[in-house]
């Protein structure tokens, strides 16, 4: 029985009159890849923000590796072994690619000194394929490269749990395939992953389990097959079950 | 008690002038997200302008005020074109430094021209009595002018085309440009109105007290306090904030010496920024 790395219990988050999340509850065992999907504005990034400490939920708890971390600061979560990427990438523009990744290694869970962090940065850059650009300024990278940088920074902290927010957005099909393969290799190294994604066929292929959010509520949970065939999910995305069904079958081909 | 009441009323009247000055600062911020660090020296220029116009051209101070307003408007447009236009979309530090450099230029030239000696308009309108309280005529007229200006500003912003353009740009510059608002001209105009209010407030203050080229600095700090008190970008908040500050300044002499005023104002400033950064009335988002 693998242990649960994350338990989200009854998480509710309101912003003034807007109910962003309502009673979200799920468990996440170690070494799983959990796909988090839902239409735009469903609250997926908000959920990430609650898990990693950017927001404190109005109700509910977040339990990380058995400890209640609800309302912790983002840097505390980083020290506990949680790392994330952002939907809109946040490179440290005036620093080199290597320095960017070193920040992750220095201030993450393992708290390395500069010299060791440099070595880790080189390894990770090799892993994500940015090694040749190590000395370039982060601002000089294109969007796809910046996404890989964002991932490298997260990986350099050797996290237990990695939150990926739309790492596939804006990539062409071969880039998507590469990234999916990278994600799998990361999981094979022992990291648990939650992925927010809109590229449906990719996330369905790689996830062990999936959760679907719509208007802040959890409308479905299960394996990719179960989710695909769940009419509520299909309706949430497209409003027309037959059309959706046709599109899903097209994607599978 | 009479002493306190007199001070309070006096403070309230002066508060109107503070409000005008603060409105200038907050308007510029509201429209273009720029904090005009030349605000203080422009107030001082207003003081010197009215002095020069009355002593050299023999104009009556209140007539001179009109010219001061016009000059303030023109100066603001020039400052915008030369210093602010290029950095309007750059990080905030750039516009802060750009406007501060204008501050330095004005103070540098002003000190050379006028030295740091005090000047006095030597203007008086006598006193009037309101019940048990004696008021200085200049204060009352000054407050009335401030009210007139406020009404004029309101009319301009809500009843004229340019005023509507200004509000549109303040709301969403990109959208305004899309529907054909000439944003660059409007930004220049807005900056000019902001500096006009500052210069005007300086001119009115010159009818109250003696002044030096450096006097603007004190009023600049007051404007900052008022602007955060009333909410950055909120002109009504600025006026009300000005009245509140005026009242507070009216109370202080009863309890401590006036040299403590800047200290009290700073503490207020920081406390507001820490605990209620959107001000009493809400900042522009």
């Amino acid at each position: 029985m693998t242990s649960l790395i994350l338990q989200v219990e009854g998480v509710t988050k309101r912003f003034g009159g807007l109910q962003a999340l309502t009673d979200v509850t799920f468990d996440l065992p170690e070494r799983q890849i959990l796909g988090l999907i839902g239409p735009n504005g469903a609250g997926k990034t908000t959920l990430f923000n609650v898990i990693n400490g950017v927001y404190t939920p109005n109700e509910g708890r977040v339990i990380f590796k058995g400890e209640d971390v609800t309302g912790s600061k983002t840097y505390d979560m980083a020290h506990r072994g949680l790392a994330r990427t952002h939907q809109i990438v946040k490179p440290l523009n005036d620093l080199s690619v290597r320095e960017n990744v070193m920040v992750g290694a220095c201030f993450g869970r393992e708290n390395h000194k500069l010299h060791k962090a440099g070595g880790i940065a080189d390894e990770v850059l090799e892993f994500v394929g940015l090694a040749e650009r190590a000395d370039q300024l982060a601002s000089s990278l294109n969007v796809a490269q910046k996404k890989r940088l964002e991932m490298a920074r997260a990986l350099a902290a050797r996290p237990y749990l990695l939150l990926l927010d739309e790492v596939l957005a804006g990539l062409n099909p071969s880039e998507i395939a590469e990234m999916v393969e990278t994600v799998q290799r990361i999981r094979d190294q022992g990291v648990t992953i939650i992925m927010i994604e809109h590229v449906m066929h990719a996330v369905m292929n790689v996830s062990d389990r999936m959760i679907v959010l719509d208007f802040g509520q959890q409308i479905a949970e299960g394996t990719p097959e179960e989710i695909q065939n769940n009419p509520k999910v299909v309706e949430a995305y497209l409003g027309d079950p037959e059309l959706a069904d046709k599109l899903m079958r097209q994607a599978d081909e | 008690m009479d002493f306190l009441l007199a001070n309070l009323v006096d403070g309230l009247l002066i508060g109107f002038i503070y409000g005008i000055a603060a409105m200038g600062l907050t308007l510029i911020f509201g429209v273009m997200d720029v904090i005009n660090l030349a605000h203080g020296p422009i107030i001082a220029l207003g003081m010197f302008s009215i002095y020069l116009l009355t002593t050299m051209l023999g104009l009556h101070p209140y007539i001179a005020l009109i010219l001061v307003a016009v000059l303030g408007l023109l100066l603001g447009i020039v400052i915008y074109i030369v210093a602010v236009q290029r950095v309007i979309d750059a990080p905030h530090l750039s516009s802060l430094l750009a406007t501060f450099s204008v501050n330095m230029i004005i103070i540098g030239l002003g000190t050379a021209a006028f030295s740091t000696a005090p000047y006095n308009l030597e203007f008086s309108l006598g006193k009037m009595s309101l019940g048990s309280v004696t008021l200085l005529g200049s204060r009352v007229v000054g407050a009335l002018v401030a009210l007139l200006v406020t009404a004029g500003l309101y009319f301009f912003l809500y009843r004229t085309r340019n005023g509507r353009y200004i509000r549109a740009v303040a709301n969403n510059r990109a959208a305004a440009e899309l529907v054909g608002v000439p944003s660059n001209r409007i930004l220049a105009l807005s900056f000019g109105i902001g500096t006009m209010l500052a210069a005007l407030s300086g001119g009115i203050i010159a009818t109250f007290f003696p002044f030096t080229i450096l006097a603007g600095g004190t009023y600049e700090l007051k404007s900052f306090v008022i602007v955060v008190l009333g909410g950055l970008g909120n002109p009504v908040g600025a006026l009300v904030g000005g009245l509140i500050l005026g009242l507070i300044e009216g109370i202080i002499p009863t309890f401590m010496e006036t040299t403590w005023v800047p200290v009290v104002e700073f503490v207020m400033f920081v406390l507001i920024l820490l605990f209620r950064p959107s001000g009493l009335f809400g900042a522009k988002q």
């Binding site: 990693n52 950017v54 983002t74 840097y75 980083a78 790392a83 994330r84 952002h86 490179p91 440290l92 523009n93 005036d94 620093l95 080199s96 320095e99 920040v103 220095c106 201030f107 869970r109 000194k113 500069l114 962090a117 440099g118 000395d135 | 904090i35 030369v82 210093a83 530090l93 750039s94 802060l96 430094l97 750009a98 501060f100 450099s101 204008v102 501050n103 330095m104 230029i105 004005i106 103070i107 540098g108 030239l109 000190t111 600095g217 700090l221 900052f224 010496e257 040299t259 403590w260 005023v261 800047p262 200290v263 104002e265 700073f266 503490v267 400033f269 920081v270 920024l273 820490l274 950064p277």
Partner: protein, 323 residues
């Protein structure tokens, strides 16, 4: 990674400072020593400001307040309590550091322009406060009894000593600047500057890092203040808390290039050079502040990364050296 390029990043600024310190020795002229003293003071203050401004990205407009606090602390201890200069300087630095710590707790949570405004308010309020405190001389300030200089062998000797101490402080400020820049702490500060939220997500404890950066950036100005006013012989509020001078230091840091070790040093030398020329030129003497303003405006509009920054961008190979 101590290869020669990195060491050069420290050695270059140190050489500049050393040159400044040795120049009056070789020229033998007293006026040169005065000039060098002023430039060395600027180097120390600009390099310290750079820690909070250039590395951390928090624009401390009123940073001169720490110079004033240290100045008043040191002066009071020397003139009224009979302390000798070394503990007085240390006390000046310590007091500034303490004020920075307390102040930082309050205002470092403000971002961008709000923080900048708050620092202006701090300086102006300190100016007003000090003018109200009679035990440190009120609006008139304090004077140093010339007897005090006897302890150091006389006024001439004291002046000379002050010069060498200032040179030492300037060297120290460069070393501190380099040490921060090349440390893990410094990397955290740079991350905060680039994107504070992203830095926190990666584990940088921003509140603590900012506070320490602010404290560190305040200590040397405090020490410099104590030394400066000792040499000056008297202190009064407007000399201790000159807001426009505070901005001049921002100009120096930006002129040379913020966020580098060499930048503030070159900026200080360059700016003081220009200023010295202006003050002695009959045309520009009175409008020195105005010319400084024009210079600042030109920098902001056309070379916002300063001279060193421009070089680094144009010639990327220099990035390792011009740290």
């Amino acid at each position: 990674m101590k290869n020669w390029r990195n060491i050069l990043g420290l050695v270059l600024p140190l050489l500049v400072v050393a040159a400044l310190a040795l120049w009056p020795v070789f020229s033998g002229k007293a006026v040169d020593q005065e000039t060098a003293f002023t430039i060395l003071k600027a180097v120390a203050l600009a390099s310290s400001l750079n820690i909070i401004l250039g590395y951390t990205g928090y624009v401390s407009f009123g940073h001169i307040v720490f110079f004033g606090v240290g100045g008043y602390t040191g002066f009071y201890l020397m003139s009224q309590q009979g302390w000798s200069i070394w503990p007085a300087m240390a006390a000046g630095g310590a007091m500034s550091g303490l004020i920075a710590f307390l102040l930082g707790k309050a205002i470092l949570r403000l971002r961008g322009a709000y923080f900048a405004l708050a620092t202006i308010g701090v300086n102006q309020a300190m100016l007003a406060l000090v003018g109200n405190l009679d035990f440190i001389g009120g609006p008139i300030g304090m004077n140093l009894n010339f007897k005090v200089y006897k302890e150091y062998g006389g006024a001439q000797e004291a002046l000379q000593m002050a010069f060498y101490i200032m040179a030492g402080i300037a060297l120290l400020s460069v070393i501190v600047s380099y040490a921060v820049r090349t440390s893990k702490f410094g990397l955290g500060l740079l991350a905060i500057r680039e994107d504070e939220d992203a830095a926190e997500v990666m584990g940088v404890v921003a509140p603590n890092a900012k506070t320490w950066a602010y404290v560190l950036s305040a200590i040397i100005p405090g020490i410099v203040g104590a030394l400066f006013f000792f040499k000056n012989g008297n202190i009064e509020p407007h000399d201790a808390f000159p807001l426009h001078t505070s901005i001049e230091f921002i100009v120096m840091v930006m002129l040379g290039g913020q966020g580098t070790v060499l930048g503030p040093v070159l900026g200080a030398v360059g700016y003081q050079g220009i200023r010295g020329y202006l003050l002695t030129s009959p045309i520009f003497k009175n409008i020195q502040l105005a010319v400084a303003g024009v210079l600042l405006l030109l920098i902001v509009l056309f070379i916002p990364f300063g001279v060193v920054g421009w070089i680094r961008n144009r010639f990327p190979q220099t990035r390792r050296v011009l740290q």
